[in-house]
Protein backbone atom coordinates (compact mmCIF):
# COMPACT_ATOMS: atom_id res chain seq x y z
CA UNK A 1 0.00 0.00 0.00
CA UNK A 2 1.47 3.29 -1.05
CA UNK A 3 1.39 6.39 1.14
CA UNK A 4 3.26 9.63 0.66
CA UNK A 5 5.40 11.40 3.21
CA UNK A 6 3.68 14.82 3.15
CA UNK A 7 0.06 14.65 4.23
CA UNK A 8 -2.70 16.57 5.91
CA UNK A 9 -1.43 15.30 9.28
CA UNK A 10 1.65 13.38 10.45
CA UNK A 11 1.30 9.79 9.30
CA UNK A 12 1.08 8.20 12.74
CA UNK A 13 -2.09 10.06 13.66
CA UNK A 14 -5.45 8.49 14.22
CA UNK A 15 -7.05 9.22 10.87
CA UNK A 16 -4.54 6.89 9.21
CA UNK A 17 -4.89 4.01 11.69
CA UNK A 18 -7.48 2.08 9.64
CA UNK A 19 -4.94 1.87 6.82
CA UNK A 20 -2.32 0.22 9.04
CA UNK A 21 -4.85 -2.19 10.45
CA UNK A 22 -5.98 -3.19 6.99
CA UNK A 23 -2.42 -3.59 5.72
CA UNK A 24 -1.40 -5.82 8.60
CA UNK A 25 -4.52 -7.94 8.18
CA UNK A 26 -3.92 -8.30 4.46
CA UNK A 27 -0.23 -9.05 4.96
CA UNK A 28 0.75 -6.12 2.76
CA UNK A 29 3.69 -3.81 3.48
CA UNK A 30 3.13 -0.06 3.58
CA UNK A 31 5.41 2.04 1.39
CA UNK A 32 5.96 5.62 2.51
CA UNK A 33 7.17 7.45 -0.58
CA UNK A 34 8.60 10.96 -0.78
CA UNK A 35 6.40 13.85 -1.98
CA UNK A 36 2.69 14.40 -1.61
CA UNK A 37 0.96 17.58 -0.54
CA UNK A 38 -1.52 18.09 2.25
CA UNK A 39 -1.73 21.85 2.09
CA UNK A 40 1.01 22.33 4.65
CA UNK A 41 4.26 24.14 3.74
CA UNK A 42 7.02 21.62 3.20
CA UNK A 43 9.25 22.81 6.02
CA UNK A 44 8.53 23.71 9.61
CA UNK A 45 9.42 27.34 8.85
CA UNK A 46 7.23 27.68 5.82
CA UNK A 47 7.90 27.52 2.11
CA UNK A 48 11.54 27.28 1.01
CA UNK A 49 12.96 29.12 -2.00
CA UNK A 50 14.62 26.44 -4.13
CA UNK A 51 13.86 23.03 -5.57
CA UNK A 52 17.08 21.75 -4.02
CA UNK A 53 15.57 22.57 -0.63
CA UNK A 54 12.65 20.32 -1.44
CA UNK A 55 14.99 17.56 -2.57
CA UNK A 56 17.07 17.56 0.61
CA UNK A 57 13.90 18.19 2.61
CA UNK A 58 12.43 14.80 1.75
CA UNK A 59 14.46 13.25 4.52
CA UNK A 60 13.03 15.79 6.97
CA UNK A 61 9.48 15.05 5.86
CA UNK A 62 10.09 11.32 6.08
CA UNK A 63 11.49 11.73 9.58
CA UNK A 64 8.30 13.48 10.61
CA UNK A 65 6.32 10.58 9.23
CA UNK A 66 8.45 7.88 10.84
CA UNK A 67 8.69 9.57 14.24
CA UNK A 68 4.93 10.03 14.23
CA UNK A 69 4.32 6.41 13.27
CA UNK A 70 6.61 5.11 16.02
CA UNK A 71 5.45 7.51 18.72
CA UNK A 72 1.74 7.08 18.08
CA UNK A 73 2.22 3.37 18.67
CA UNK A 74 1.45 2.13 15.16
CA UNK A 75 4.14 -0.55 15.36
CA UNK A 76 3.24 -1.44 18.93
CA UNK A 77 -0.36 -2.08 17.91
CA UNK A 78 0.54 -3.87 14.67
CA UNK A 79 3.44 -6.23 15.36
CA UNK A 80 3.27 -7.84 11.91
CA UNK A 81 3.19 -4.59 9.96
CA UNK A 82 6.13 -3.97 7.63
CA UNK A 83 6.97 -0.58 6.25
CA UNK A 84 9.34 0.69 3.56
CA UNK A 85 10.78 4.22 3.55
CA UNK A 86 11.10 5.13 -0.12
CA UNK A 87 13.14 7.81 -1.88
CA UNK A 88 14.02 9.86 1.18
CA UNK A 89 17.44 8.42 1.95
CA UNK A 90 18.47 6.26 4.87
CA UNK A 91 21.60 8.00 6.16
CA UNK A 92 19.48 9.70 8.77
CA UNK A 93 18.10 6.43 10.15
CA UNK A 94 20.73 5.99 12.90
CA UNK A 95 20.69 9.60 14.07
CA UNK A 96 16.89 9.79 14.20
CA UNK A 97 16.79 6.50 16.12
CA UNK A 98 19.44 7.64 18.61
CA UNK A 99 17.55 10.85 19.23
CA UNK A 100 14.21 9.07 19.54
CA UNK A 101 15.69 6.62 22.05
CA UNK A 102 17.26 9.33 24.14
CA UNK A 103 14.08 11.44 24.25
CA UNK A 104 11.99 8.36 24.92
CA UNK A 105 14.09 7.50 27.96
CA UNK A 106 13.23 10.84 29.55
CA UNK A 107 9.75 11.43 28.12
CA UNK A 108 8.28 7.96 27.88
CA UNK A 109 5.61 8.77 30.47
CA UNK A 110 3.99 10.93 27.81
CA UNK A 111 3.74 7.98 25.42
CA UNK A 112 3.05 4.89 27.52
CA UNK A 113 1.78 3.12 24.44
CA UNK A 114 5.39 3.09 23.16
CA UNK A 115 6.48 0.14 25.22
CA UNK A 116 9.90 -0.46 23.69
CA UNK A 117 12.74 1.86 22.67
CA UNK A 118 11.83 3.50 19.34
CA UNK A 119 14.97 2.16 17.64
CA UNK A 120 13.74 -1.38 18.25
CA UNK A 121 10.51 -0.72 16.41
CA UNK A 122 12.45 0.82 13.55
CA UNK A 123 14.88 -2.07 13.36
CA UNK A 124 12.05 -4.62 13.46
CA UNK A 125 9.54 -3.04 11.11
CA UNK A 126 11.23 -0.68 8.70
CA UNK A 127 12.88 -1.36 5.34
CA UNK A 128 14.72 1.25 3.32
CA UNK A 129 15.06 1.80 -0.41
CA UNK A 130 18.33 3.27 -1.51
CA UNK A 131 17.62 5.81 -4.22
CA UNK A 132 19.00 8.48 -4.00
CA UNK A 133 21.91 6.51 -2.59
CA UNK A 134 23.94 8.22 0.10
CA UNK A 135 27.30 9.16 -1.34
CA UNK A 136 29.76 10.23 1.37
CA UNK A 137 33.38 11.03 0.63
CA UNK A 138 34.48 8.10 2.75
CA UNK A 139 32.75 4.98 1.56
CA UNK A 140 33.44 3.25 4.87
CA UNK A 141 31.09 5.77 6.50
CA UNK A 142 28.35 4.50 4.20
CA UNK A 143 29.11 0.91 5.20
CA UNK A 144 28.89 1.91 8.88
CA UNK A 145 25.41 3.28 8.30
CA UNK A 146 24.33 0.19 6.39
CA UNK A 147 25.67 -1.96 9.24
CA UNK A 148 23.39 -0.05 11.58
CA UNK A 149 20.37 -0.21 9.26
CA UNK A 150 20.99 -3.88 8.49
CA UNK A 151 21.95 -5.59 5.24
CA UNK A 152 18.65 -7.43 5.59
CA UNK A 153 16.67 -4.18 5.52
CA UNK A 154 18.10 -2.31 2.56
CA UNK A 155 16.48 -2.55 -0.87
CA UNK A 156 18.19 -1.40 -4.04
CA UNK A 157 16.11 1.12 -5.98
CA UNK A 158 17.00 2.91 -9.20
CA UNK A 159 14.23 5.47 -9.83
CA UNK A 160 15.09 5.19 -13.52
CA UNK A 161 14.26 7.20 -15.68
CA UNK A 162 14.30 10.17 -13.32
CA UNK A 163 17.25 12.52 -13.78
CA UNK A 164 18.79 11.45 -10.50
CA UNK A 165 18.46 7.71 -10.97
CA UNK A 166 20.98 5.28 -9.49
CA UNK A 167 22.96 2.88 -11.64
CA UNK A 168 22.96 -0.59 -10.08
CA UNK A 169 26.51 -1.25 -11.21
CA UNK A 170 27.86 1.82 -9.40
CA UNK A 171 25.78 2.10 -6.31
CA UNK A 172 27.67 -0.14 -3.88
CA UNK A 173 31.29 0.36 -2.82
CA UNK A 174 33.77 -2.44 -3.26
CA UNK A 175 34.14 -5.08 -0.59
CA UNK A 176 30.50 -6.02 -0.05
CA UNK A 177 30.08 -9.76 0.44
CA UNK A 178 28.20 -11.82 -2.11
CA UNK A 179 25.53 -12.70 0.43
CA UNK A 180 24.92 -9.06 1.24
CA UNK A 181 24.81 -8.12 -2.44
CA UNK A 182 22.21 -10.84 -3.07
CA UNK A 183 20.13 -9.54 -0.18
CA UNK A 184 20.53 -5.93 -1.32
CA UNK A 185 19.61 -6.45 -4.97
CA UNK A 186 17.02 -9.20 -4.62
CA UNK A 187 16.30 -11.19 -1.47
CA UNK A 188 15.18 -8.34 0.78
CA UNK A 189 12.62 -7.20 -1.78
CA UNK A 190 11.35 -10.75 -2.31
CA UNK A 191 10.94 -11.10 1.44
CA UNK A 192 9.29 -7.70 2.00
CA UNK A 193 6.78 -8.10 -0.80
CA UNK A 194 5.98 -11.70 -0.01
CA UNK A 195 7.41 -13.14 -3.19
CA UNK A 196 10.04 -15.36 -1.62
Amino acid sequence: MLLLSRNVEPLGQRRYWPIYEAAEEAGLPIGVHAFGFGGNPITASGWPSYYIEEMVGHSQCQQTALASIVLEGVFERHPKLKMAMIEAGFGWAPSLSWRLDKCWQRLRSEVPHVKRPPSEYIRDHVYWTTQPMEDPERRDHLLDVIDWVGWDKLLFATDYPHWDYDDPSRVLPAGVSDANREAFYLDNALKLYGLA
Partner: protein
Amino acid sequence: MTRHVIATVNELPPGTRKFLTIGERPIAVFNIKGEFFGLLNRCPHQGAALCEGPLIGLAQSSDPGEIEYTKLGEIIRCPWHGWEFDIRTGQSYCDPKRFRAKAYPVNVEPGASVVKGPYVAETIAVSVESDYVVVDL
Protein backbone atom coordinates in the same frame (compact mmCIF):
# COMPACT_ATOMS: atom_id res chain seq x y z
CA MET B 1 -32.82 24.40 -14.10
CA THR B 2 -34.25 23.50 -10.73
CA ARG B 3 -33.65 25.19 -7.42
CA HIS B 4 -33.16 22.97 -4.39
CA VAL B 5 -33.42 24.07 -0.78
CA ILE B 6 -30.89 22.00 1.08
CA ALA B 7 -30.55 23.51 4.56
CA THR B 8 -31.22 26.51 6.72
CA VAL B 9 -28.31 28.89 6.90
CA ASN B 10 -27.87 28.08 10.59
CA GLU B 11 -27.35 24.39 9.80
CA LEU B 12 -24.32 25.21 7.68
CA PRO B 13 -22.06 27.55 9.63
CA PRO B 14 -18.76 28.84 8.18
CA GLY B 15 -16.12 26.15 7.84
CA THR B 16 -18.62 23.33 7.42
CA ARG B 17 -19.79 21.35 4.44
CA LYS B 18 -22.88 19.26 3.79
CA PHE B 19 -23.02 16.15 1.63
CA LEU B 20 -26.24 15.30 -0.15
CA THR B 21 -27.67 13.69 -3.25
CA ILE B 22 -29.86 15.66 -5.62
CA GLY B 23 -31.50 13.45 -8.19
CA GLU B 24 -28.64 11.04 -8.74
CA ARG B 25 -25.85 13.53 -8.24
CA PRO B 26 -23.63 13.42 -5.16
CA ILE B 27 -23.08 17.03 -4.22
CA ALA B 28 -21.34 18.87 -1.41
CA VAL B 29 -22.15 22.40 -0.31
CA PHE B 30 -19.51 24.42 1.52
CA ASN B 31 -19.76 27.51 3.71
CA ILE B 32 -16.47 29.34 3.33
CA LYS B 33 -16.37 32.43 5.53
CA GLY B 34 -20.03 33.10 4.91
CA GLU B 35 -20.04 32.37 1.17
CA PHE B 36 -21.64 29.21 -0.16
CA PHE B 37 -20.30 26.96 -2.92
CA GLY B 38 -21.51 23.72 -4.43
CA LEU B 39 -19.41 21.03 -6.13
CA LEU B 40 -20.22 17.69 -7.66
CA ASN B 41 -18.62 15.16 -5.34
CA ARG B 42 -16.80 13.38 -8.14
CA CYS B 43 -13.26 14.20 -9.19
CA PRO B 44 -12.92 14.57 -12.99
CA HIS B 45 -9.66 12.59 -12.77
CA GLN B 46 -10.80 9.16 -11.55
CA GLY B 47 -14.15 9.76 -9.88
CA ALA B 48 -13.00 10.05 -6.26
CA ALA B 49 -15.14 11.70 -3.58
CA LEU B 50 -13.43 15.01 -4.24
CA CYS B 51 -15.37 16.95 -1.63
CA GLU B 52 -14.03 14.88 1.25
CA GLY B 53 -10.59 16.36 0.72
CA PRO B 54 -9.02 19.11 2.81
CA LEU B 55 -9.47 22.78 1.99
CA ILE B 56 -6.06 24.29 1.43
CA GLY B 57 -4.57 27.39 -0.16
CA LEU B 58 -2.75 28.15 -3.37
CA ALA B 59 1.04 28.39 -3.24
CA GLN B 60 2.59 30.40 -6.06
CA SER B 61 6.06 31.77 -6.61
CA SER B 62 7.52 34.18 -9.14
CA ASP B 63 11.10 34.04 -7.84
CA PRO B 64 13.09 32.02 -5.32
CA GLY B 65 12.16 33.26 -1.88
CA GLU B 66 9.02 35.04 -3.12
CA ILE B 67 6.12 32.88 -2.11
CA GLU B 68 2.47 33.81 -2.04
CA TYR B 69 0.05 31.56 -0.25
CA THR B 70 -3.37 32.84 -1.21
CA LYS B 71 -6.96 31.65 -1.45
CA LEU B 72 -6.69 30.04 1.95
CA GLY B 73 -9.49 27.56 2.44
CA GLU B 74 -10.69 28.01 -1.13
CA ILE B 75 -8.81 25.20 -2.83
CA ILE B 76 -10.15 21.69 -2.43
CA ARG B 77 -7.58 18.94 -2.72
CA CYS B 78 -8.80 15.56 -3.88
CA PRO B 79 -8.11 12.83 -1.30
CA TRP B 80 -6.98 10.32 -3.92
CA HIS B 81 -4.19 11.99 -5.91
CA GLY B 82 -3.99 15.48 -4.48
CA TRP B 83 -5.44 17.34 -7.48
CA GLU B 84 -6.42 20.89 -6.56
CA PHE B 85 -9.59 22.67 -7.62
CA ASP B 86 -10.82 26.18 -6.99
CA ILE B 87 -13.97 25.92 -4.89
CA ARG B 88 -15.50 28.99 -6.52
CA THR B 89 -15.40 27.77 -10.11
CA GLY B 90 -14.25 24.16 -10.07
CA GLN B 91 -11.20 25.15 -12.12
CA SER B 92 -8.25 22.81 -11.74
CA TYR B 93 -4.73 24.12 -11.24
CA CYS B 94 -2.92 21.25 -12.90
CA ASP B 95 -4.65 21.58 -16.28
CA PRO B 96 -7.34 24.30 -16.30
CA LYS B 97 -8.18 23.70 -19.97
CA ARG B 98 -8.80 19.98 -19.73
CA PHE B 99 -10.02 19.37 -16.19
CA ARG B 100 -12.61 21.08 -14.14
CA ALA B 101 -14.75 20.00 -11.22
CA LYS B 102 -18.44 20.63 -11.72
CA ALA B 103 -19.50 23.65 -9.68
CA TYR B 104 -23.06 24.63 -8.82
CA PRO B 105 -24.24 28.11 -7.87
CA VAL B 106 -25.43 28.31 -4.28
CA ASN B 107 -27.30 31.25 -2.83
CA VAL B 108 -29.00 32.26 0.38
CA GLU B 109 -32.69 32.99 0.01
CA PRO B 110 -34.90 34.46 2.69
CA GLY B 111 -37.75 32.30 3.90
CA ALA B 112 -40.33 34.68 2.46
CA SER B 113 -39.26 33.99 -1.13
CA VAL B 114 -38.58 30.31 -0.53
CA VAL B 115 -42.10 29.78 0.76
CA LYS B 116 -43.42 31.22 -2.46
CA GLY B 117 -41.55 28.71 -4.64
CA PRO B 118 -40.85 27.25 -7.12
CA TYR B 119 -38.30 25.23 -5.17
CA VAL B 120 -37.71 21.57 -4.67
CA ALA B 121 -37.54 21.07 -0.91
CA GLU B 122 -38.41 17.48 -0.25
CA THR B 123 -36.98 17.12 3.19
CA ILE B 124 -36.67 20.65 4.49
CA ALA B 125 -39.66 22.31 6.06
CA VAL B 126 -39.50 25.93 4.99
CA SER B 127 -40.84 28.90 6.84
CA VAL B 128 -40.65 32.63 6.41
CA GLU B 129 -38.59 33.12 9.60
CA SER B 130 -35.39 31.45 8.39
CA ASP B 131 -32.91 31.92 5.54
CA TYR B 132 -32.18 28.98 3.31
CA VAL B 133 -29.27 27.63 1.31
CA VAL B 134 -30.42 27.02 -2.26
CA VAL B 135 -28.53 25.05 -4.90
CA ASP B 136 -29.16 25.62 -8.61
CA LEU B 137 -28.90 22.51 -10.74
